[in-house]
Amino acid sequence: MPSLPVAIEAHDIRKAFGATVAVDGASLAIASGSVHALLGENGAGKSTVVKLLSGLLTPDSGSFRLFGEPVHLATPRAAHKCGIQTAFQEMTLVRDLTVLENVLMPYAPANPLGLIRRRAAEAKVREHFASLRMADIRLSDEVRTLDLAIKQKIEIARALFRKPRILLLDEPTSTLSGRDVDWLGEIIEAEKAKGVTIVFISHRMREVRRFCDTLTILRNGRHIASGRVADLSETEVVRMIIGRSIGQTFPPRPPANAHHGREVLRVEGLSTAGKLREATLSLRAGEITGVAGLQGMGQLELFLACFGMMAPTTGTVYVDEKPVVIASPVDAVRADIGISLVPEDRKTEALFLKLSGKVNASMPVIDRFCRFGFIDRNRENAAVASVFRRIDVADRALWTRAAAFSGGNQQKIAIAKWLLAESRVLLLYDPTRGIDVGTKHELYLLMRAYAEAGGAVLFYSTEIPELVHLADRVVVMYQGRIVKEINSDALTEDAIVRAALGGAEGLGAAA
């Protein structure tokens, strides 16, 4: 191994977005021809490193060397020229173009008149797809009509089509299930045999063990450790990823048989036009209910339907054991319903980026601060300031626009909004995405405190350890259905992952 030359060498890379430092002086070296895992929590800086290597972003400082040569990866084309190809996580296929056009873009072969040699190119792509056992994908189909998993496979196939020297796979397994993960394994092996260097970004230790030779761990944008996968134990890796031991990270959980309060929200047989199929779920006061599932298994629809943001096609919602129709978030926010949602995407769903933290926080309940139609600004200021102090947001947030804060503080403002509303049900959709370890810890404490005060929490996370250590019970979703309910005494990562991959024993035990 040490005889191999270094394929990728990053030296003291730094990249900041406004107040958020995504990569903070990270250095790493990846041996040529190896399969290298890049590990870290959401927001640790993995995706930013991938984007820097792909030429989508340029570092504020620091430098890259590829095979010993210093490189400046200013554009995607520059990265392509260096032999780097990336299969991105948020897929970069263009919806309205065909599979063929997507694979060829922007290097489609053209004749002297500039016309694309479609037939010749099509034959080549078809042959390539066949060699990857993807011959059943029709090249003339528009990408919009395809499933997420198929799109992910095309994304990978396109990167391979260009014969990379370095292949970056950005969380390819987050949308692939059992058989497709095996497919990916074969591909990685074949490419490795050709001498391609592969960087594999993933959450799942299982796959890292299976596919990778070496690994690098990032935390809060910093390089924490590198080493051979075989030399590190699972607990060591987890400790390095989250920065402290599990026991220090999560607040103590009440015993499994603790008496929870009465039911506040129940859905029965809830289906939506999207992916949700006949979900039945009951939320009780004082309880944190976790939701697990691969991407796109109906969890988003479940959250949106509970909040009135998506219309169910069948099923009933009960609040305080009485049926009710929550037709829009306006209904959900009412003081006598009291449901709140912290949505997935802070920038487009949770925050008014151009408005101050105060205006953000008070927006859902601004009517409660109005007297004779006019806003009582003193009362509003006092109430918002009090909530901000409760969750340690700087007073500056009262008048500074939300865009000027780091990811962690932005998420706190998004949550402050719903603490101010004093709702009884808090729906949290992947709330720890892209925030630093310290803020995550604060959020865990806050969620537990909220539950102890009598609130009901529904909590979806892509970080399975969070669910294992924080939730009082976890429901697992697969293909739109709730396929398993796991109580805290049986909660393990393995149990969740198995059910989330559609494990046979999970299907039988539908909740």
């Binding site: 056992r133 994908i137 009710v324 003081a335 980026l353 008070s362 927006m363 109005c370 909530v387």
Partner: protein, 687 residues
């Protein structure tokens, strides 16, 4: 792995399926065109003659060529409002400059196309490289180009050499093939070539998903830039063509084409927002519009209906194009049914008689006092955007003082400043509120004109009827806003398209009501209100000061104001924060309609009578003052206080320019440049 590949079913992927979904729009347009031709054929005795064929092909060619250019822009996700203005400019250039020789005709045809491409490059520079909003850039360009046009030729006149029409308009094969069809054939061939190049793929790719295209190595900026240049070239060629067709110059000839071009593009099945559609569809769409208007003639219907018909077709085409279960309109109707069902079964939240149950989180009580930050620190961001307008206003005041020697000390200067400002101060509330929510109201001009014409026509110089006419006219304006709002919020039509179509419809209504010549006079009371100088100040000044105070409170101290800003930061964020977005959007357009009506009334009072097109010169200023006042054209950031500064600045500038010998055309150009400068200077800082 190759072993497995051998026995995998390759035959499946060989089967070529015609991509129906992709070409659905064009197919529908073809069917509609054939149907219309059939009707046209039935109506004209003895079927369609060659003469009629060549007449129709000529009538639609200019529109088809212009629409082809606009299609390129729309496919990339852009918008180009400068199309009509460029056509007018090329027309007057040719009418005043082209010599009567074959060579001269060719040279000036090329110059015409070159002028179009230059305008396109101007647009493209600001949009592609400075990343400004296409709408505001092309709107400013539109006014600048209109100003240039008026400088070249300020009234219909001039002549275009017949050499040009010999080449472009006559028959290619006498009695068989008219030349316009050949020209369009060439356009189609060029399009098919373009579409099948890498650049063609790039156009669709950036319109469909700009980030994905960029990630794959497509140069988004250069593609956009070239598309605006090509589109400009098309407009220039359309200008050449219309010159050949009419043989004369008319500085306003392109104005009516803006609505028609969008109609043709949308009818042709191109999706607003980009990624889907084709130039061929737009050419068919152009002919559909032309034949429909032609049918009006055949059925002997007044030509005043033509803009109404065009507006309605545009709205209908957008609705039909978006017709599906997932469209906004069907989603909203399902929501309504769901609400009604819930109400019937007593399942609405308010029918549940639950008690409010709030859950205050314990711990960490705060003292509640505001942190000790200074006023400057707390308002730094607002000041950064608001102050420039006021600073420039003071500079213009000083300049006026220097040039005229009497402004700062002269009471009547301030009085006339405020009277002239009053119209824009009111429009700024309506347009500004709409812009803050992320929309745009292009129906302002004809809402003003229709309301003014209605008022003058009904009161006809009497004070008595004012008591019911004033509320009625204000209600008409509000109703216009209501329709706009419903179209945008409930039916999901884009604000620009909806209000542009509405503007056309209102224009038709105003023409129908007045039969082309507005009659009547405003009431003496209104004249007193707007112009009386016997008191300390003109009455309208008192009114407008109160109006500004109320508007300020509305924006800063009410829940309505807060939600305005919220929606502009993103409809989805707003909806997820428990705001009834649809209701708010409708209310905002109603407010804008109300303000336009108020201005229509005041303008009529001010000048004593109403006229067609009296609102036209208020569209750009209404947007300009909002932008100059530091409001982001895409919404979400800004303030009425800033807009007031913008109004004062622009009005002071107008007074200063009016004192000089600069013609109206120059003023329009200056406004356009001021808007561009303001957008560049006050744009959002990117991270």
């Amino acid at each position: 792995m190759t072993d497995i590949a051998k026995d995998s079913p390759q035959i499946m992927s060989r089967g070529f399926r015609f991509p129906w979904a992709r070409h659905q729009g064009v197919m529908v347009a073809v069917v509609v065109l054939i149907g219309l031709l059939a009707i046209n054929n039935l109506m004209s005795r003895g079927g369609m003659s060659y003469f009629e064929f060549s007449f129709l092909s000529l009538g639609g060619a200019t529109l088809a060529i212009a629409a082809a250019g606009q299609t390129l822009v729309i496919l990339t996700g852009g918008f180009d409002l400068s199309v009509g203005a460029v056509i007018s400019l090329v027309n007057v250039l040719l009418a005043t400059n082209m010599p009567d020789s074959g060579q001269g005709a060719l040279l000036w045809a090329l110059i015409g196309i070159g002028v179009g491409m230059t305008t396109g490059a101007f647009n493209g520079f600001f949009i592609a490289f400075l990343r400004l909003q296409p709408i505001v850039v092309t709107l400013a360009t539109m006014f600048i180009v209109q100003g240039l046009t008026l400088l070249v030729l300020d009234k219909p006149g001039g002549a275009v050499s017949s050499r040009l029409s010999e080449v472009l308009v006559n028959d290619a094969i006498p009695g068989m093939l008219p030349m316009p069809i050949v020209v369009l054939g060439i356009v189609i061939v060029l399009w098919l070539w373009l579409k099948n190049t890498r650049f063609g793929t790039a156009i669709y790719a950036i319109g469909s998903d700009m980030d994905a295209a960029r990630a794959q190595g497509i140069s988004v900026a250069w593609t956009q830039f070239l598309v605006y240049v090509l589109a400009g070239g098309c407009y220039g060629f359309a200008g050449v063509f219309i010159s050949a067709q009419t043989g004369a110059g008319d500085p306003l000839i392109g104005n009516a084409m803006l609505l028609q071009v969008f109609g043709a593009v949308v009818v042709g099945g191109t999706r607003l927002g980009g990624g889907r559609g084709s130039v061929i569809g737009s050419i068919i769409g152009a002919y559909i519009l032309v034949i429909v208007v032609n049918l009006l003639l055949v059925f002997n219907i007044s030509a005043y209906y033509s803009t109404i018909v065009e507006g309605c077709i545009l709205i209908l085409a957008v609705l039909v194009g978006a017709l599906s279960r997932s469209s906004r309109a069907s989603e909203r109707s399902r929501l309504l049914l769901r609400r009604l069902g819930a109400w019937y079964r007593g399942l609405l939240p308010r029918q549940g008689h639950r008690l409010p149950q709030l859950l205050p989180l314990p711990g960490k009580e705060s003292t509640g006092d505001e942190a000790g930050a200074s006023f400057l620190e707390r308002h730094r961001e607002q000041l950064r955007y608001v102050l420039p307008a006021y600073v420039c206003f003071v500079l213009v005041l000083l300049l006026t003082q220097l040039m005229t020697g009497r402004a700062l000390t002269n009471g009547s200067y301030y009085s006339s400043l405020l009277v002239l400002s009053s119209f824009l101060l009111i429009l700024a509330l309506g347009q500004g509120s709409v812009i803050l929510t992320g929309g745009l109201d292009l129906s302002v001009p004809w809402t003003i004109a229709l309301c003014g014409i209605l008022l003058a026509g009904i009161v006809n110089g009497q004070n008595g009827p004012l008591i019911w006419v004033l509320p009625m006219v204000l209600a008409v304006g509000t109703l216009v806003g209501l329709v706009n709002g419903v179209g945008i919020a409930v039916l999901g039509i884009s604000p620009i398209v909806m209000t542009l179509a509405m503007n056309g419809i209102l224009q038709g209504l105003a023409l129908l009501y007045s039969q082309g010549t507005p009659a009547g006079f405003s009431a003496p009371l209104m004249r007193w209100f707007m112009t009386d100088k016997s008191g300390l100040v003109t009455p309208v000044v008192v009114f407008v000061v109160i109006f500004v105070a109320i508007a300020m409170i509305l924006h800063t101290r009410t829940a309505f104001g807060r939600r305005l800003y919220a929606i502009g930061n993103g409809e989805r964020v707003a909806a997820l924060s428990g705001i009834a977005v649809d209701r708010m959007v409708i209310l905002v357009y109603m407010l804008s309609g109300f303000c336009s009506a108020l201005v229509g009334i005041m303008l009529t009072g001010f000048s004593g009578q109403a006229s067609l097109g009296m609102g036209d010169e208020y569209l750009l200023p209404s947007i300009a003052v909002v932008v100059v006042g530091g409001t982001l054209i895409t919404g979400g950031r800004g303030s009425y206080l800033g807009m007031v500064g913008g109004v004062l600045l622009l009005t002071a500038l107008q007074i200063l320019l009016a004192g000089t010998t600069l013609p109206y055309a120059t003023r329009v150009i200056i406004y356009g440049l001021v808007v561009l400068a303001a957008v560049v200077a006050l744009r959002e800082r990117s991270n």
